[in-house]
């Protein structure tokens, strides 16, 4: 398990007087694809660069394959990196790009110089071996026919594969990817995402990937580390992070539609009120003010005239088309300054889509999340069982 892991232990970094990373500890196990996700400026790229050795940490330790590499230079760390803009050498062919990591290790400096290097005697075996390995990796990534081209002649997706090939060719212990798909068109991005995952699975390599796109993180990763302002908020599987977010910030960040937030007040007896609804919750531990959060996919709407059971009244502000789904923006009757978003399969607009139309909103009780004032998630239980679990509106 230790052999190919990538570990960060209590890493700290500041630029001038601005702290960028405050005690980050993280470990990617062998063969795992770990994604560090967070908004721009949260420090994730700096973190990756520290693992690569391109930046020095002010404190903490970096271990790769169990070996302390904190003081080691990038080339001695046995890692490879794919950059956001691929960083391919523009004047070299694809083949020469891929061969570079092998040449720096397999040939002496003089043999690597242009013009002069070609005259350097001997080393034919080394050169042939390097050529063969580069071609093998190119074939693996299906870019063999591009070997004689230059990066300037390639599309974004092709360049990304060349960057991957250059990283793969050395078979390092760890792969670091800095926003590898951010510069691609949406369609290509989806396609390459799947390919990247398949490749990682097939090769069983350890990958640490950094991105601001939470969709990407959710679909690619074995585990996700969510980061805000230089600190890790949560590390867990995509499912964990989605269903059991540790903080409100994590809950808001993960998920493509904005999460619904309802302010909540305790009204004694362990009950809380939100938006004119009383929730028979028992909260552990007791909090004074809190936020109730529920994802749009767990908010159901029915036409006002067909209301049944518990819920709350709202009117439609507008409906957003998302392809197979729709996002309904609603104004709760009890709190006209708030907005609720409900997500559901697309239905005809004629059904009840006009702005101002009244609807009845139901929240899925199993999907409710409660967060205290500090933003941390709070465990709670419903008082009572069965029917009493439903949410009632205060008359």
């Amino acid at each position: 398990m230790i052999k190919n892991s990538v570990e960060l232990i209590d890493v700290r970094k500041r630029f001038g007087t601005t702290p960028v990373l405050t005690g980050v500890s993280l470990a990617a196990a062998e063969g795992e694809l770990l994604t560090v996700v967070g908004p721009s400026g949260c420090g994730k790229s700096t973190l990756l660069r520290i693992v690569a050795g391109l930046e020095a940490a002010d404190g903490g330790m970096v271990r790769i394959g169990g070996r302390d590499v904190t003081q080691a230079a990038p080339h001695a760390r046995d890692i490879a990196m794919v950059f956001q803009n691929y960083a391919l050498y523009p004047h070299l062919t694809v083949r020469a790009n891929i061969e570079t990591p092998l040449r720096t290790r397999g040939l002496p400096l003089v043999a690597r110089l242009p013009a002069v290097g070609r005259l350097w005697p001997g080393l034919r075996e080394a050169r042939l071996r390097i050529r063969g390995e580069a071609e093998a990796v190119a074939a693996q990534l299906e870019i063999a026919e591009l070997l004689e081209r230059r990066p300037g002649q390639l599309s974004g997706g092709q360049r990304q594969r060349v960057a991957l090939a250059r990283a793969l060719v050395r078979q390092p212990r760890g792969f670091l990817l800095d926003e590898p798909l951010s510069n691609l068109d949406a369609k290509i991005r989806t396609h390459l995402r799947a390919e990247l995952k398949a490749l990682q699975r097939a090769l069983g390599v350890t990958m640490v990937l950094v991105t601001h796109d939470q969709v990407e993180a959710m679909s690619l990763s074995d585990r996700i580390a969510v980061m805000f302002a230089g600190r890790l908020a949560q590390v867990g599987s995509p499912d964990d992070v989605y269903r059991r977010p540790a903080t409100l910030q994590v809950a808001e960040f993960i998920g493509d539609l904005p999460i619904n937030r309802l302010p909540v007040e305790p009204i004694g007896d362990g009950r809380v009120a939100a938006l004119g609804m009383t929730l028979p919750l028992r909260i552990f531990p007791r909090v004074d003010a809190a936020t109730l959060a529920v994802r749009p996919e767990h908010v159901r709407i029915v036409p006002a005239d067909r209301r049944s059971g518990s819920g709350l009244a709202a009117t439609v502000a507008h409906v957003e088309a998302l392809g197979s789904d729709q996002a309904w923006h609603l104004v709760p009757a009890a709190a006209p300054t708030l907005r609720l978003i409900a997500r559901q399969r697309s239905i005809g607009a004629a059904a009840f889509g006009d702005a101002g139309r009244p609807v009845w909103v139901r929240l899925d009780p199993d999907a409710l999340m409660l967060f205290d004032e500090a933003g941390d998630r709070v465990e709670f239980a419903f008082a009572g069982e069965g029917e009493q679990r439903s949410l009632e509106a205060v008359p």
């Binding site: 391109l54 230079a73 990038p74 490879a80 950059f83 050498y89 004047h91 570079t100 990591p101």
Partner: protein, 308 residues
């Protein structure tokens, strides 16, 4: 890009570049500049070519055509041959020294953090210097008897050198002045070029294992400076070939033609001896030489950059 997309979307003929000219507007806009260019450049160049086949002297009323006689005379004219040779030797000294020094200084300055701004200013000073007054300063610095450089040479126990009156050394002394001027220029150009290299390529090189500064230079810096290098080499060479001010002020081509150069020949023949036909032939030879050199250099450096 936008014009094409507009036309693609609307199906209407696109405004902007794709439009088949606003009638006479482009020609009106070009007219003043073109008129002046023709008057001050193209027509005179044609006239110089024409005059090179004549025996024109200032004050003549007509053109007396003599075929290629001027060119034959130029080839046989010892002073012209010596001047041309001097131009080549001079350029051979000035160009490599200035370009390499400029590159070296730029690389070093680029690596500094605190002192970078100071060096940028200090190395820029020679670029601003008007050569005529500066030549006189150098005349004093390199003076055969009272100059400080010679004082230093004498202090080391060597004999003083008559920089401007010794035919073996005079071209070298003039070259030093030019190198002083052009190395600073090259430094500034290379510094600007270095800022265009994306930092991330150095990151990639570090990860790829390239740890020697020399290796890094040949992998990233050198190739990325290819365009800058073309520009520096060509401008340095053309400037070196156009040397005149220092020669006129300091040596007048002497001693005995040891520092004579083509532009000086053209000036003397054309505006002192007033033999403008002959001077025109010399001018044409000079022009062709400059054009050929510029072209050859541009092609060869670009080709080498594309090979790698």
């Amino acid at each position: 890009m936008s014009a094409a997309s507009i036309s693609a979307q609307t199906g209407a003929p696109a405004p902007g570049r794709a439009r088949a000219g606003g009638g006479s507007t482009p020609y009106l806009m070009l007219a003043p500049a073109l008129f002046l260019l023709v008057l001050a450049w193209f027509a005179p160049i044609a006239l110089v070519a024409l005059m090179s086949f004549t025996r024109y002297k200032l004050g003549d009323t007509g053109l007396d055509f003599i075929g290629l006689a001027n060119y034959a005379r130029a080839v046989g004219d010892g002073r012209v041959v010596q001047a041309a040779g001097n131009n080549l030797i001079y350029a051979a000294m000035v160009v490599p020294a200035s370009v390499l020094a400029g590159l070296g200084f730029a690389l070093l300055i680029n690596g500094r953090r605190a002192s970078r701004g100071l060096y940028e200013v200090l190395f820029f000073l020679p670029v601003t210097a008007t050569l005529v007054p500066m030549s006189i300063v150098w005349l004093f610095l390199l003076h055969g008897r009272i100059g400080p450089i010679n004082s230093v040479i004498a202090w080391f126990g060597f004999a003083k050198i008559d920089f401007f009156t010794d035919p073996k050394v005079v071209l070298f002394a003039l070259a030093v002045i030019e190198i002083w001027h052009l190395a600073a220029f090259a430094t500034i150009l290379y510094l600007a070029g270095l800022t265009t290299i994306p930092r991330v390529l150095y990151d990639a090189a570090a990860i790829d294992g390239e740890r020697h500064p020399v290796g890094r230079f040949f992998l990233v810096t050198g190739p990325m400076l290819a365009r800058t290098t073309v520009f520096v080499v060509v401008t340095t060479t053309v400037t070196a070939l156009q040397v005149f001010d220092t020669v006129l002020v300091l040596t007048r081509g002497g001693p005995m033609g040891a520092s004579d150069v083509m532009l000086n020949r053209i000036y003397v023949e054309g505006f002192r001896s007033l033999e403008m036909g002959y001077a025109s032939a010399l001018t044409m030879l000079f022009l062709v030489a400059v054009l050929v050199v510029s072209l050859v250099q541009t092609r060869s450096v670009e080709r080498r950059a594309a090979d790698r």
